[in-house]
């Protein structure tokens, strides 16, 4: 008999405790982000697809050594450069990243000795066509500088 009433009593108390918790939660600010209208800044260690780093003149730091191309285990990177007349260093002419095969391992960024490659913070990537994921990084750099 005593256990019967104590069970009812403790059960009832626990219900009110539960309701007090949800009551407190009701007045707390929301924690979600209404995604298309507002976005969070990505954290420092986020790995998007790779991106070229530019120097002060807005030109890529890349010297076309080709180490990233060799380091890539999936062969995503195709780059080419040429040496203009009278210049000492090679200049990058194309840098194609085939993101469909990239696994974001970071070997290319690690292998770069000239601080020319980094991860971007790009995460809004969605498309129905495969070609949209073959990025011309040089073009993206130019567009960024416009």
């Amino acid at each position: 008999m005593v256990t019967y009433f104590s069970e009812i009593y403790h059960g009832l108390i626990s219900l009110f405790i539960g309701m007090a918790i949800t009551f407190k939660e009701f007045f707390k600010p929301t924690v979600t982000v209404a995604y298309p209208y507002e976005t969070l800044t990505m954290c420092d260690r986020y790995r998007g697809h790779t991106e070229l780093i530019e120097n002060e003149e807005g030109k890529p730091n890349c010297v076309v050594c080709g180490l990233c191309e060799k380091a890539c285990p999936s062969g995503c990177i195709t780059l080419a450069g040429e040496k203009p007349e009278g210049e000492k260093k090679k200049v990058l002419t194309t840098y194609i990243l085939d993101f469909t095969r990239c696994s974001l391992c970071g070997s290319c960024v690690e292998s770069c000795n000239f601080n020319a490659l980094t991860f971007s913070k790009e995460y809004n990537l969605a498309s129905t066509r495969k070609e949209d994921f073959i990025f011309d990084l040089l073009k993206r750099l130019e567009e960024r500088n416009k």
């Binding site: 009832l12 949800t22 939660e25 600010p29 929301t30 979600t32």
Partner: protein, 334 residues
């Protein structure tokens, strides 16, 4: 008030309008409330604070095709959602919102509302039976056992209140609770009851209202983790919409009854606040109770079917029976 054709029509239109408006905007309130408790914003895109969400949902539901599953009992299948909605609307006829705002007061108002409320269970049985779907069938079996289990303590508690008031007239029950907050039936101090167990009766009645309206944590009838969507598995379009509206209209009726029987109806909580119209106090109490319904739904997980039946048969019925006898004794003594 004399019963003429004109005020019958006006009353019906107002009752349906009130029920439909409440059903539509309680869905909105429910979604916003749930979102707040879960710390999300809730529907906030359509209109200010998402206030245009219910009409848009309604348009979407009405634009859909009503499919009837093969082998279903067509008449019952179509009748069931209507049957879910109409007892709730009928019950509005006798609910007094204030001293003057009542469509038709009758001296057996309590009886009438419970008669119609018990038809709510029938719509679930019809829906489950006629759908020709095993999940819907199981749901209606549960709905019946639930309705039987929870109508008993609810009615016993109501009888307790009726015994205290000596009347089944809803207006008379409210009038006897006038004075102040301490005269209400929920508090035993100054009112007619002098019964210290009345707060418990209130809790029993409120719990039974939750169970009768098939609300969480007692929504075993539509336990989506076990029964897809229960009795309305096969309903789409406005059939589903009517079930949904019926559920909310029943919540309104349940809260109205709780307000009338225990919270003093349209009476102001303190005598000097009597200058504010009664309908304000009635609606305030009504919506506070409905907010509690929503609050409870988003706090507790669903019970099990045997937990639900145990609660009724082992706890609510003995306690309400005891309170009935106790009240009868007190009435005899004092």
């Amino acid at each position: 008030m004399r019963l003429t054709l004109l005020n019958v029509i006006v009353a019906v239109v107002i009752a349906i309008g009130f029920a439909a408006l409440n059903a539509a905007y309680l869905v909105w309130a429910e979604r916003r409330g749930a979102a707040r408790i879960q710390r999300r914003p809730g529907p906030n895109i359509n209109g200010p604070f998402g206030l245009l969400q219910p009409p848009l949902d309604g348009i979407k539901l009405m634009a859909k095709q009503l499919t009837i599953p093969g082998g279903a009992d067509k008449v019952l299948f179509i009748a069931a959602p209507v049957l879910a909605m109409f007892p709730a609307i009928m019950s509005f006829v006798t609910i007094p919102f204030s001293e003057t705002i009542v469509a038709k007061n009758m001296n057996v108002g309590v009886l009438m509302i419970f008669a119609f409320a018990s038809m709510g269970g029938m719509s679930l049985v019809f829906a489950g039976w006629s759908s020709r779907n095993k999940y819907a069938m199981m749901s209606s079996v549960r709905a019946v056992s639930q309705a039987v289990a929870y109508e008993i303590p609810m009615l016993i508690t109501t009888i307790t209140v009726v015994m205290i008031s000596g009347s089944m007239d809803l207006m008379e029950i409210v009038r006897q609770q006038s004075g102040s907050i301490l005269h209400w039936n929920i508090f035993p101090l100054l009112g007619n009851s002098h019964n210290i167990l009345m707060p418990m009766s209130f809790l029993i009645f409120f719990t039974c209202t939750l169970a009768e309206t098939n609300r969480a944590p007692f929504d075993l009838g539509e336990a989506e983790s076990e029964l897809v969507a229960g009795f309305h598995t096969e309903y789409g379009s406005m059939g589903f919409g009517l079930f949904f509206m019926g559920e909310y209209a029943n919540i309104v009726i349940g809260s109205c009854m709780t307000t009338i029987l225990f919270l003093g109806g349209w009476n102001a909580p303190l005598p000097f606040l009597g200058f504010i119209p009664g309908v304000f106090w009635f609606l305030l109490k009504l919506y506070l109770l409905i907010a509690t319904f929503i609050w409870i739904r988003w706090t507790f997980p669903r019970t099990t079917i045997y937990g639900l039946l145990n609660l009724s048969w082992k706890i609510l019925i003995p306690l309400s029976l005891f309170n009935l006898l106790f009240t009868a004794g007190l009435i005899k003594v004092f």
